[in-house]
Symmetry: C2
Subunit: 216 residues, 2 copies
C-alpha cells in the first residue's frame, strides 16, 4: 500500500516533469539538475560555470533550499536571474515546484538553466524535474564509499563531478575505488575530478556541458 | 491535508519512540541518536568512542544505512554487538525500525547504545527514535553556513560536534560564525570541535557523554 502511494506520487511527478521539459525545449533552454550532499559544492560549481561562460551563454538559476536564501544571493551577485525555492523543511525539489518557478523566469532570455537541488544524497534522486541532465557532485572529504552507500543517486547521474580534489594531500581517498564503484552502478556515467577552489577540471566540465547543449 | 497526514505519522512515531525509551530505561541502557550529512564522520566517531571506553562501558550499535553494511562491518571488528538496518532507499530511521532492532539486541549486556542514523541533514531531524540524546556531527569541509541552511537539525541537537578540524589550515571556515549560528537556533546546545583523525577533542566529547550517562 505504501509502495502504491509512492508510485502514484512519482507517476504524477513524472507527468509534470514532462510538461516542464516541453516548456524548456520550446524556449530552447538546456536545464541541469544539480544534486549533492550538503556542502559538496553545488553553488561553487554554478559560480565557476557562470564565470567561464560569461558573454557566451546566458544562464539562469533556480535555487532550492530547505530555508534561507544565501545561495541565491551569492549567485544573484553574478548578474544572472535567480529564482529561490524554499521547501520549508522538504528534503527535495519536485517537478511541481520547478513548474511554478519556470513561470517566473523569462525563459526566452536564457540558454542554460541550473537547478540547484536541496543538499541531500537520497530523496532528490527519486524526483525527476524535467531537466536534460542530472549532475551529481561528490567531494573528497565525504569519503570514497559514497557511491556504494547511496547507489540510487549515482545510478541516476549523467555526470559525477568529484569536487575538492585540492584537499587530496590531506585525506585518505582512493579515486580508482570511487570511479570503479560509480561504473558498477552506472555504466554510462561521465566522471570529472574538479576543484571549485583552484579551478582544476572546470575546463573539462564546461566543455562537456557545451557539447551537450550543442548536441540537442 | 498533507500536513495532517504528516502529523499523524509523526504522532504515531512519537508513541513508538516512547515505548523504545521505556524499554531502554528498564534495561538501564543510555541511547544516542547520531545524525549528520553523508561522510561527516558518524562511524569514525563511534569507532573513536569505542576505543576510549573499552573495558569501562559496554557499547552496542545500530547502523542505519540506505543500503550496504560496510559501516556495520567496521564497527563489528571492534568486538561490539551491531545490528544493521537497511532502509532500502528510505531517508531516515524511524521509531518502528528501532523498536524492531532493539528486539534483536541483548540489552541487558550493554550500557550505551549508538544509533547511527542515515546520512542526511534533513529528514532524520523530524523522527524521534526514543534515544536519550541527539548528537549532530557537522564537518569543516561542509562549510560554516550549514546551521543556517538546515536549521531544524541543529535545533533538535543536544550536542553539535564539529569534526575534521585537522583540515582547518586548508579551508575557509569561521568557527565563531558557525557556533553563533547554532546558538541562534538552539540556546541550550553543547558544542565540541573534534577530529576523529587526530583524536583532538574526543576526550571532551567522551567526558560529556559519561556525565550524561551518570546523571540519569
Amino acid at each position: 500500500m505504501k509502495i502504491k502511494v509512492l508510485k502514484d506520487i512519482l507517476g504524477a511527478n513524472e507527468q509534470i516533469a514532462e510538461r516542464n521539459r516541453r516548456l524548456l525545449d520550446s524556449n530552447n533552454v538546456f536545464a541541469v539538475n544539480l544534486m549533492s550532499s550538503p556542502g559538496a559544492g553545488k553553488t561553487s560549481l554554478i559560480l565557476q560555470t557562470i564565470k567561464k561562460l560569461k558573454g557566451k551563454v546566458k544562464i539562469g538559476v533556480i535555487e532550492g533550499d530547505v530555508s534561507s536564501s544565501i545561495d541565491a544571493e551569492a549567485v544573484g551577485k553574478e548578474g544572472v536571474p535567480v529564482i529561490q525555492i524554499n521547501t520549508e523543511g522538504g528534503c527535495h525539489l519536485d517537478a511541481n515546484m520547478i513548474g511554478s518557478a519556470l513561470g517566473r523566469i523569462a525563459l526566452q532570455d536564457i540558454d542554460l538553466l541550473f537547478i540547484e537541488n536541496v543538499g541531500n544524497l537520497i530523496c532528490p534522486a527519486e524526483f525527476t524535474l524535467g531537466a536534460h541532465k542530472k549532475v551529481v557532485i561528490s567531494s573528497l572529504p565525504e569519503g570514497d564509499d559514497k557511491p556504494f552507500k547511496y547507489p540510487l543517486m549515482f545510478h541516476v547521474a549523467d555526470v559525477v563531478l568529484l569536487n575538492k580534489i585540492d584537499l587530496s594531500p590531506y585525506l585518505k581517498f582512493d579515486t580508482d575505488t570511487f570511479s570503479q564503484t560509480i561504473r558498477g552502478v552506472n555504466k554510462k556515467v561521465e566522471f570529472f575530478p574538479i576543484s571549485c577552489t583552484t579551478g582544476q577540471g572546470i575546463e573539462q566540465w564546461v566543455s562537456w556541458l557545451l557539447t551537450q547543449m550543442n548536441r540537442r
